[in-house]
Symmetry: C2
């Protein structure tokens, strides 16, 4: 996908979803074209950076015109892999697991939650938006019978690595982890660790800093 199969830096990749967000907004408000300068003002980035970011993946713009909003959005969707669907399971049907299952927004982008798993007998057998909560014991069985692209880990911290191991042993290649550890995965498996508390502590860092 990168221009010539060449390396695209982490910094650029992390900005792509942000571009997607802003382009979606522009498209929704009926804007047809946008220049890097205009985008830069809205997004708080430099125009140069924006042009260079897009050029990591190919020349989507036109001199004298700028970028066509919906074309560019489509290109970025392709880059981000949002031109297909994903089957997702959630392991851990506690606070975060339930919140994610209840949220319908990810479905709109092609991420379909197929099942939840937990060890709590009170939860097993229940369902959230018609998504069943299964006994964690049946995880292996479920994975053998259903093609799952992404597994979300939303268990307590101390169970997360064990769950990650079970998932990867049973063919899971991508993990979206919400537990407060960085889960270790074998080569060939992708793990994206979300650390909400890290974000909160960055905020409290800035509060302290502002009081100096």
């Amino acid at each position: 996908m990168a221009r010539n199969g060449s390396y695209v830096s982490e910094a650029v990749i992390r900005r792509m979803p942000k571009y997607y967000r802003y382009l979606e907004d522009l498209e929704k408000t009926g804007v047809e074209r946008v220049s890097s300068k205009e985008l830069s003002q809205r997004m708080g980035l430099t125009a140069s950076k924006i042009r260079q970011d897009f050029n990591c993946f190919g020349g989507f713009g036109q001199q004298g015109y700028g970028y066509n909003v919906s074309d560019l959005k489509k290109e970025i969707m392709k880059i981000l892999g949002l031109d297909r669907t994903y089957n997702v399971i959630i392991v851990g049907a506690g606070n975060i697991g339930q919140a994610l299952a209840n949220y319908t927004g990810f479905e709109k982008e092609g991420f379909f939650i197929k099942a939840l798993f937990d060890i709590n007998p009170k939860l097993i057998g229940m369902s959230i938006r018609d998504i069943m909560i299964y006994d964690l014991d049946s995880l292996e069985d479920f994975l053998a019978k259903n093609p799952i692209d992404i597994a979300v880990i939303s268990t307590p911290k101390d169970k997360a690595q064990e769950v990650a191991d079970r998932l990867t042993r049973n063919g899971i290649k991508s993990i979206w982890n919400f537990a407060a550890i960085d889960v270790a995965v074998p080569r060939g498996v992708i793990a994206e660790n979300v650390h909400l508390s890290d974000s909160l502590y960055t905020l409290s860092y800035r509060i302290r800093e502002s009081l100096e």
Copy 2:
């Protein structure tokens, strides 16, 4: 807090919560001392980077010995502003708002949720872990009577900026935003934007990349 009031880069700041996590684990497992080399192996960073990061804030280590785990942890807690407590409110008692209110982990670090706010009549009057859900109309009144340090925004996307404006107009100086926009805040106000979907799309980017 920075060594001599000098600037500490964003990259360093973002790593501090991660150090805190690992140091907490080490402390819990009874480890007394740790070297930058050992930490680097656990955390997947270079020892050099770790030493330089800590030195942005002062020399916490000792040659030939390394770092005392609990001392270093305490220093990082100070740096992150975790040596005090914060009063928090949550605006938007939907999926994410409720999940955050139900989660008891933040309290352990000194973040106390004092109230939730929503516009949904079915939610108003209810409570989560003894935290009341109030009518959003009473937000101004509540803020006038209670000293609040941090406001969480977990409303739908299209209400987030409006809520942010109301919050800052009424004295809120720090916002932890979960809505899928970057909320704009006046100078002097701190906003930390969490974009869960950005994280998910980064994962799908990598999935696509791995299939090339």
